[in-house]
């Protein structure tokens, strides 16, 4: 009996969370396969190397994930990155590293605020608005840079970012910090209302959620995170080129979507975006280790993205069907109760919370019969 109950619990857990397991499973499969075929892959230094390589995109993806959950996009992160690396390098050269970093963070918040204003207050569709602002930022980057890349005159920033206390580079620590911030934010009331706004804006409004404010904040965070990513990038390449960031927006969206964040908003999690990012990083690294032609790597990456999302969709459908079937099975209970004793109301709520209510109702039905 107890075993049956435990089995029920496992089944219920899978029913509720199983749909989230598709992409982590794909990631796990890939890691196992790589671990077997390449001895270098699972070494700590290689894993940290992967984390460091993907750190700028990971940072950008965190902001993008929050935005996607609220039902918006930001295509201007690439522009912020381009302007960030060029303007940032110039300011660092003229006014020093510390001032440069502060100016960059300020610029990120400013760009995000402009996006947020155009989308949530003026009311322009976020895809269009950020497409436009993205062109402006990257255009400004080209104007500032002239025809040549900007090179850093001091090595303070590259040294700081690539410094590795205990073998873990500062760039990785920064991306972990950003992940932590995004995760914390997603768990606050403000973050939770992002889901509400993304899933049903009108319901959120009726429930007193300040919809404009709630959808504004992720734009600021995304701008700020894009600026942080550009700081890391400056350190990586020792300066700034205006071509930086052209693939940031789509890579960040890909990571979020691969992880299971709904492109229409209201679903997904920060954890999912991290998993999606890890999958992309691992695949890229793995293909290099396997010695696959670098042009072909992009093709394979595209295929992996589609496979991961397809697996996710199939999983979801399966589990939601299963959930629906269980609900249908409990329906007859209602009829029996209302017909038999119209005055009496039975309810499933007094069940212990850990036991799924649907199952409980089914038990109740058995008792009645």
């Amino acid at each position: 009996m107890v075993e049956q109950r435990n089995l029920d619990r496992v089944r219920e857990y899978l029913g509720r969370h199983g749909q989230k397991l598709a992409v982590p499973s794909v990631l796990l499969l890939f890691v196992v396969y790589m671990g077997i075929s390449s001895p270098v892959f699972l070494q700590g230094s290689n894993l940290i190397n992967i984390a460091s390589t993907i750190s700028p995109i990971t940072i950008v993806a965190m902001g993008m994930a929050l935005l996607l959950i609220s039902g918006n996009f930001d295509l201007s992160v690439g522009g912020v990155g381009a302007l960030g690396v060029v303007a940032g390098s110039l300011i660092i050269n003229h006014a020093g590293t510390f001032v440069g970093i502060l100016a960059l963070l300020f610029m990120g918040v400013l760009c995000g605020t402009i996006n947020g204003f155009i989308v949530t207050i003026v009311g322009v569709n976020s895809l269009v608005a950020t497409l436009g602002t993205g062109y402006i930022w990257s255009g400004l980057a080209y104007v500032l840079a002239g025809s040549s890349p900007v090179t850093l005159s001091t090595n303070d920033l590259p040294n700081a970012i690539t410094y590795a206390p205990g073998g873990i580079q500062v760039s990785v620590l920064i991306s972990l910090a950003v992940i932590a911030i995004a995760f914390w934010y997603s768990r606050t009331i403000a973050g939770h209302s992002l889901y509400a706004v993304g899933a049903n804006r009108e319901a959120a409004r009726l429930a007193g959620v300040p919809v404009t404010l709630v959808s504004f904040v992720p734009f600021i965070l995304t701008g700020l995170f894009a600026a942080i990513a550009s700081i890391v990038t400056i350190a990586f390449i020792g300066g700034g080129v205006p071509e930086t960031g052209t693939d940031w927006p789509l890579q960040a969206i890909a990571a979020a979507v691969v992880g299971g964040i709904s492109i229409t908003g209201g679903e997904g999690s920060i954890f999912a975006a991290v998993v999606g990012m890890a999958l992309i990083g691992v695949v890229q690294n793995g293909l290099v280790l396997l010695g696959i032609n670098s042009n072909l790597q992009t093709v394979v990456l595209g295929i992996v993205i589609i496979l991961a999302v397809a697996a996710d969709v199939r999983f979801r459908r399966r589990f939601s069907d299963a959930a629906l079937r269980r609900v249908r099975e409990t329906r007859p209970t209602e009829v029996v109760e209302t017909r038999g004793q119209p005055g009496r109301i039975t309810h499933a709520g007094d069940a212990d919370a850990a036991v799924p209510a649907t199952e409980k109702t089914a038990e109740h039905a058995r008792d009645c019969n």
Binding site: L206, V209, V214, L324, T346, H347
Partner: protein
Amino acid sequence: MSDDRTACSPANSAPLLSLVDVTKVYPPQFYALREVNLTLRSGEIVTLLGANGAGKSTLAKILTGAETLTSGTLRWDGRDLKVASPAAAKRIGIGIVFQELNLLPNLTAAENLVLGNSQGGVLRAFSAAAAERVYERYSALVPDPPKPQVLLRSLGVGERQKVAIIRALAQRPRLLILDEGTSSWNLTERQQFQEVLKRLAHQGYLAILYITHFIDDAINVGDRVVVLRDGTKVYESQTDARISHIEIIRAISGELSSTQPTRSTLREHKPHARQSRSMPILTVEDLATGSVGPLRFTVSAGECVGFYGYPGCGATEALEAIAGLITHRGVVRWNNIRLKRNATHRLRHGVILCSGDRPRQVISSWPLYLNVGLPRLFKRSMFLPVPTREFVRTADAVVKKFGVKGGIWTRLGALSGGNQQKVIVGSALELGRPLLILGDDLTRGIDAVARLEIHRIMKMTLGEDVAVIVWSTDPSEIRELCSRVYIFAQGCIVSELVGEGITTDRLEYLARTRVGHSAAA
């Protein structure tokens, strides 16, 4: 007015359109119209009244070819008539303004006129200037018409109705059908337009079928009043001095037992005139939105007040304004606090709107407990963690107290409508005290058992610091729940009924009264 009628004497002219035993049956066995006989003459305005579902719109649709009749005949100008399609109706000279306006939102007002009216064939070159000329000519007939160049989607319902009427008139019809065509206009505009209609009709060329909810309008504009009930013609009378409001209202509602509301039982709405035993907990002063108000009224603690009126009467807007969901002028005082104009602030003080429009109110992909938590979210600072445990506890309480059939982890969309509604009301009632519940057609589309249950819950929680306002279009729900009713029509409170004075026919009667009627009384 009577001179006008004797002068043109439409009764003597030959019928333009006759309906003989017209019957419409929707499968399997629903009689939308049952052997209706009706004659329309050129130069005459016939007004058609009836409750929702009485067959008014079906009749209009048959005449314009949108529906086919099951049996019976139509005679047009003395010849048998088969209206095969809306285009055919247009060709023979039947123009209509439908209740659900069929205009194209992405075109200008003038373009709508031409494209709905492409008599020259689809290939004829389109000229914006020509369209605007036609539009200008016919817009003179309508009070305060929208500009020809304005995009239709930027117009409100009332202005769209004007465009639809201009379009119908521009077809130079011989029979014009207005199916609630002016329902969103203000009184002055309606009266002006009714005078225009009378002038047009009494010149002798045009016949008009005017479908409305408002008895006053019907008597004012019509030469004859016809009432449909359950598809049958139950009343027909010339609009002379002997015509009786009460007979008409009885014909519409079908209640023979009803008595005429007298001055003593019918209280005219006088704001602040009422001496209430308890102090008001809610005071609304000069509340006004675009189409509603100004409204002044009070609600006492422990009271359940009803708003009664037809869709579009302004009650929904009033409720949304009190909840702070739409911008408004005026002052709302609740529990001695002057409320700020923002929904989050008002919710924190316990003012919550519960809508019967469930897709609008719930997140159906979320589990029950998160939906219960939704209105509780912004009771705290937004950067605190989500109080999941509190949500679970509250959801448990809601499920237990209100007998929701479903567990707290169940996806809300998997619950039946009645149970979803219980969750909506339940989570509002668990918000804390003081509490003002604004019910916007709360029991729309749910079965009788669930409905009674929700009524029971709401009555149970009425107490010292709880007040409820419900809008409903159903008199029985108002009688069941409310001790006092404000009756809405055309964005204003037209009267107030108390206690035993709340009866179905009084509600029906007063909701159909025009604003001017009671203001003049």
